[in-house]
Amino acid sequence: MGELTVETRHLEGVTLLYPRGFINAHNVRLFESELQRVLEQGQFKLVVNCADLAYIASAGLGAIMGAIEEIRDHGGDLRLAGLNATVLNIFEILGMHRLYRIFASEAEAIQSFLSLEGPAA
């Protein structure tokens, strides 16, 4: 898949995904498969760290939207961190910033799972 890598880490019971590059229709399957792999492992507290994500097309947004119901049905959540202005604007254009909790930093996103703030915005 072109120009996308996805790394995964686990920290304090939270699974961190690091998509690096960009997500579009050409490479979304890589992101989807990593997301699905994490869910199949029973990991439902997810932070997608977008600090190295240049942009995301609707295919990537659809992958996130496609997973969120399963994640929240299991009492978890998918939260986002480190969005650059371009990616944040894409979320805002669609109104997705009202559906997902977005944090400036990974640390804040992880902390949101550790404190008793509830699963979703």
Binding site: G2, A25, A57, S58, A59, L61, I90, I93
Partner: protein
């Protein structure tokens, strides 16, 4: 003209962004226009051509006065814009929907998005005005 393969989408994006910059758009607008054209091209490849990799997608850029017009042209299956689902994001996830976000995104980014059928070709026309306007978000 580009092959109908998604590996060329990043090229489409980079080219569109540069064309928008040359047309005088700035402050993030070229990125958004590039995304809209990426989405239109993706739709041509995945829906009009059903993923066939041996076809062609044509991009046309035209700057006239205060607007940039981008046309994405394919010779695939006719698309009925009236059949395109309207997206309600609040229900999108709960209904386990897939697809439809691209057209929704195009409509939110561009000032106008129109579809027409011409000589057995689909023409998706995206227009962005240069005038300052209300924020997109």
């Amino acid at each position: 003209m580009l092959p109908s393969q998604t590996c060329f989408l990043s090229l489409v994006r980079d080219l569109t962004k540069r064309m928008a910059e040359l047309a005088g758009f700035d402050e993030g607008t070229p990125d958004r226009i590039a995304l809209a054209v990426d989405e239109a091209t993706t739709n041509a490849i995945e829906h009009a051509y059903h993923g066939a990799a041996d076809r062609a997608v044509e991009l046309r850029f035209d700057e006239q006065g205060q607007e940039l017009r981008v046309e994405v042209v394919d010779s695939g299956q006719g698309i009925d814009p009236r059949a395109m689902p309207r997206v309600d994001l609040e229900r999108y996830a709960s209904e386990r929907r897939r697809g439809g976000l691209g057209v929704h995104l195009m409509g939110r980014i561009m000032d106008s998005v129109t579809f027409r059928r011409s000589a057995r070709r689909n023409v998706c026309c995206l227009v962005k005005q240069k005038r300052p306007g209300p924020p997109e978000a």
